[in-house]
């Protein structure tokens, strides 16, 4: 974990945006011994249409609770991409649900990675776990948190009956991300290829 990493996760209401953020925060704060502060967008627009959460991870207690320029932006809807992409920090990481987000123009200097999370979730038989697929993918491409800590946080955040399914979803997303990273490393042109991958 780094001194201070700011993350925004956004998408439609019902995609599990808040739970995804909570899993990441819990992994850092409880299973990796660091600090995490999660806040949610509670604007009137968050009831229904769009949903957005912010997580700050740190090795020290967090004082300021809000995220202005995220280091990592995870988007699961076109609207979320349009709204939040301009805020991404130069040199930051963009993670997209690649079949729900069409990226016509990348913010400058950003590393971008895409995953067909909804389709991967459907392969597991339950579309609702797409958020946990995203968390797994996020874990692999950002390498911010110990994968074990993330996995424990997933198990700790869902009802016992759904643990197995959610852990499968996490693993599926993580493996997809790990394979993507390996392929990009072999190709040696990380940024360009990443861009094409998610476009």
């Amino acid at each position: 974990m780094q001194l201070l990493t700011e993350i925004r996760i956004a998408g439609f209401g019902g995609q599990g945006v808040i739970l995804a953020a909570a899993v990441i925060g819990k992994a850092a704060a409880i299973f990796q011994g660091g600090y995490a502060t999660m806040t949610q967008s509670f604007g009137p627009e968050a009831r229904g249409g769009s949903s957005s959460a912010q997580v700050i991870l740190s090795t020290e207690p967090i004082l300021y609770p809000y995220v202005a320029r995220p280091d990592v932006l995870v988007v699961m809807s076109q609207e979320a991409f349009t709204r939040f992409a301009p805020e991404l920090k130069p040199g930051g990481i963009l993670v997209t649900e690649q079949e729900l987000v069409r990226v016509d123009k990348y913010p400058a200097g950003v590393r971008a990675y895409g995953v067909p999370a909804t389709r991967l979730a459907e392969e597991l038989g339950r579309k609702v776990v797409l958020n946990i697929v995203m968390v797994g993918f996020f874990g692999a491409v950002t390498n911010l948190l110990d994968p074990d800590a993330l996995r424990k946080a997933v198990a700790d955040s869902v009802p016992p009956a759904l643990q197995k399914l959610n852990l499968q979803a996490f693993d599926k997303g993580f493996e997809y991300g790990a394979m993507l990273m390996t392929r990009l490393a072999e190709d040696g042109e990380e940024e360009t290829v990443a861009t094409l991958e998610s476009a």
Partner: protein
């Protein structure tokens, strides 16, 4: 007395401030809550309603905030520890019954998760603009205690403290959260039950024949009775004598109302809950509370890095206001800087305590977000000049 393990969710959790506050009420021994839903406070009782059947107790969703704020007082006189939860508009509706709790000396807790006002204002966004209302909102002279947590962990810890103080002093205690703290999720550690101190109700040891309902003890606070154990008593919002019967004359009024304020004096002085740092060499002291104290902490750090000797004075108990401690600092610093999410409320208390002996600089914000730390930093640097 140790907490009842039944209500304690011992462990390490990732909770928002509202949920942590709910766990605090259960740990403190609350077994009754009444409320009327309002953003951003509903989550407190939503969780309580889900948890309380397994612990043994009751939640009632009432028809409105007036009903909720008086139902809890019925429960208290029936023997329960009880609380209600609301936000701005609902808090306004509860004022009448806060006065009732004050004059009947009913120990109870009002949780107010503050949002932007006035009126419906900003339902989903933070403010700290109910601070004066918490102290002065009901008519007449009385005293209350108000606590201001700045994290989910403190929402848990201070809620227990709030219940304990309400039992000790027999006053309504206001838990003054704000939307940011209420909806912020962080690690919350809930200890074992035997590591949590809970203040039991001060029940009388006297016989029904000797007992007088409002006879002040050595600390000016009267003892209570258990309902149904043979004590006949009468509780009224009218000015009453030591027996609890209406006595509407100048002498009784003076004796009762002065005592309602005086019994809280220890909380204003020695026992005020304040979090201070770097005061010894400070030239500027930042007075803040709730979420603003965290943002202020960042500004203080930045100021120190720039060579400005800034110190921290965080009000954990905002009411009674620790005027004596502020006054003691006023004589030896250049200025107080007071950031708050309102257009100037607690800053007037700082001015009053300072009595012109140093500068007092408000850093106001109408609410809807928190301060940018740079704005507080600028005020600190300018105040130090």
């Amino acid at each position: 007395m140790h907490a009842d393990p039944k209500g304690i969710l011992t462990g390490v959790h990732f909770l928002d401030g509202d949920h942590a506050c709910c766990e605090g009420t259960l740990a403190a021994g609350a077994r009754f809550a009444a409320g009327y839903p309002i953003t951003p406070s509903t989550e407190v009782v939503e969780r309580f309603a889900a948890r309380i059947p397994t612990v043994g107790g009751l939640f009632i969703q009432m028809e409105d905030e007036l009903a909720a704020s008086i139902a809890i007082q019925g429960a208290v006189w029936g023997g329960a520890k009880a609380f209600t939860v609301t936000s701005g508009p609902g808090f306004s509706l509860m004022m009448e019954h806060i006065g009732y709790a004050a004059i009947t000396e009913t120990p109870c807790v009002f949780v107010n998760v503050q949002r932007g006002g006035p009126s419906t204002g900003l339902p989903t966004l933070p403010a700290q603009a109910d601070m004066m209302q918490a102290r002065w909102g009901s008519h007449g002279d009385y005293g209350i205690i108000a606590l201001c947590p700045n994290s989910p962990q403190e929402c848990f810890d201070l809620t227990i403290t709030g219940f304990n103080l309400s039992e000790e002093f027999r006053v309504p205690v206001m838990m003054m959260l704000d939307e940011c703290v209420g909806h912020m999720t962080e690690k919350v550690i809930i200890p074992e039950a035997d590591a949590i101190d809970v203040t039991p109700r001060r029940y009388t040891k006297r016989t029904p024949q000797e007992f007088r309902l409002f006879e002040p003890q050595a600390d000016q606070v009267p003892d209570m009775v258990r309902a149904g154990e043979g004590y006949r008593f009468h509780v009224t919002g009218l000015t009453h004598d030591e027996r609890g019967y209406p006595s509407m004359n100048v002498e009784t009024q003076d004796r009762l109302v002065r005592r309602l304020q005086d019994k809280l004096k220890p909380m204003a002085n020695g026992r005020a809950l304040c979090d201070t740092a770097d005061l010894d060499d400070a030239e500027v002291v930042v007075v803040s509370y709730g979420i603003t104290s965290r943002v202020a902490q960042r500004a203080i750090k930045l100021a120190r890095q720039q060579g400005v000797r800034a110190g921290k004075f965080r009000l954990i108990s905002a009411w009674p206001f620790p005027a004596g401690r502020i006054a003691a600092l006023a004589g030896r610093i250049k200025a107080f800087v007071v950031p708050e999410l309102n257009l100037g409320q607690m800053v007037t208390e700082v001015e009053r305590a300072t009595a012109g002996r140093c500068k007092v600089v408000p850093v106001s914000h109408a609410g809807g977000s928190v301060h940018n730390p740079d704005v507080i930093l600028k005020a600190i640097v300018e105040a130090a000049r």
